[in-house]
């Protein structure tokens, strides 16, 4: 049981680090796509391709270069989490009503003020839904990190299968499902809290 909890911690570290990296790259890319008509096509096409790649394939494709362990797993999971963040941030920003932007400019907001006071608050809810998708998917995909020796709850599931230990298998499956569902619900609630009331 102690080992299960250690694996939970490891799992959350994997997913958390990957999400942090993905946010660091994905937020600016999403803003870039939304604000620059010239770059949007390219950025979104890349994100679209990234979205279709099987997670196991991405984890495995880095193997010849980055080897096994936690670091390559985090890189791969981050790469997988970037596209949903980019896509939703772009969608969110472009969804801000043109009239609100026109009014903001007409009232004399500087571009930075417009971004901070109008675009960000209005784009927050949709952007947050992208983060939510990314988070649940990352927690799910982190299960597969066991196959490149990165640990996490995938270890427990695989061990349960190999040793035919039903109790272990069910426990590990239940915990990882609970984590994914929990993150989904928690981020859904957090999204409602940070979202401006309209």
């Amino acid at each position: 049981m102690a080992e299960l909890w250690a694996h939970v911690a490891q799992h959350l570290t994997l997913a958390g680090a990957a999400l942090a990296l993905a946010l660091l790259a994905g937020l600016p890319l999403g803003v870039l796509a939304a604000e620059s008509a010239g770059l949007r096509g390219g950025v979104l096409a890349l994100a679209g391709v990234g979205r279709t790649l099987p997670s196991l394939a991405v984890l495995m494709l880095l193997l010849p270069w980055l080897g096994v362990g936690m670091a390559p797993a985090i890189v791969a999971l981050a790469l997988l989490a970037i596209p949903p963040i980019v896509i939703s941030v772009d969608l969110a920003i472009r969804g801000v009503p043109a009239a609100a932007l026109d009014a903001a400019a007409g009232m004399g907001m500087t571009p930075l003020q417009r971004f901070a006071r109008v675009v960000v608050p209005l784009a927050l809810p949709v952007s947050f839904s992208g983060l939510r998708t990314a988070a649940t998917e990352t927690i799910a995909s982190a299960t597969l990190a066991t196959f490149i020796g990165a640990g996490g709850l995938g270890d427990e599931i695989v061990r349960g299968l190999q040793t035919d230990d039903a109790a272990l298998l069910f426990a590990a499956a239940a915990v990882v499902a609970a984590l994914a569902l929990g993150a989904d619900l928690a981020l859904g609630a957090a999204g409602r809290i940070v979202a401006p009331r309209t």
């Binding site: 394939a57 010849p64 590990a172 990882v176």
Partner: protein, 204 residues
């Protein structure tokens, strides 16, 4: 890439198996999801519950569900097949509901006013207009299923995942890369193809 060049037949066979299991599972999943979605679309109070439940199942990581299914069905074709059908339900049913909900109510009203029966309204007005959204659901489901089916290499000896997992056991990076690249290419190709189909029905 060298494995791909040296064993094209083996890769092609596994690719065929991958496509086959996804295609058959998708067909079976549609047979369940379309009636389910239509049923939910007609009952706006029920549909959030149904989609919520399917959505919750969808968030369960595939390896976890698969492990449970292996306990139930044993190793082989069955657990991966069932997992594919179960996962697809959410994406398919959700888009059926969204597609029907997106039909202009004025047109439905007009169709009723013209004397169409409820079934005629569904088949002649709602279904054709909801089709692009439904096909969007098929595309998203197909992509997810191609990804999940790579685990067929782990529990059932099916599909391109066989290359990945055999490569891991045999310490053959070339095999792993061949499996991963081919699975990725398949996903990208299917995505592009179904986007074309989607567009074709959207303009028609």
């Amino acid at each position: 890439m060298s494995y791909l060049a040296s064993h094209p037949l083996r890769v092609a066979t596994l690719l065929g198996g991958h496509v086959e299991i996804v295609a058959v599972a998708l067909a079976v999943a549609l047979l369940i999801a379309v009636p389910l979605g239509l049923f939910a679309a007609r009952r706006p109070r029920l549909s959030p519950w149904l989609l919520g439940t399917l959505g919750a199942i969808y968030t369960i990581p595939s390896l976890a569900l698969l492990a449970v299914l292996v306990r139930a069905f044993g190793l082989g074709f069955a657990p991966i097949f069932v997992a594919l059908v179960v996962y697809a339900q959410f994406m398919l049913a959700r888009n059926v509901v969204a597609g029907i909900a997106g039909v202009d109510p004025a047109q439905v009203d007009a169709a009723r006013g013209l004397g169409m029966s409820p079934l005629q309204v569904l088949l002649r007005v709602e279904f054709p207009q909801a089709l692009p959204v439904m096909i969007g659901g098929v595309r998203i489901a197909a992509i997810a299923m191609i990804a999940i089916a790579t685990l067929g290499g782990y529990v059932g000896g099916v599909g391109l995942g066989v290359l990945i997992f055999n490569g891991l056991t045999l310490h053959q990076p070339q095999m792993i890369v061949a499996g991963s690249v081919t699975a990725s290419a398949l996903a990208v190709a299917v995505d592009a193809l179904l986007r074309l189909v989607e567009r074709r029905f959207a303009t028609a």
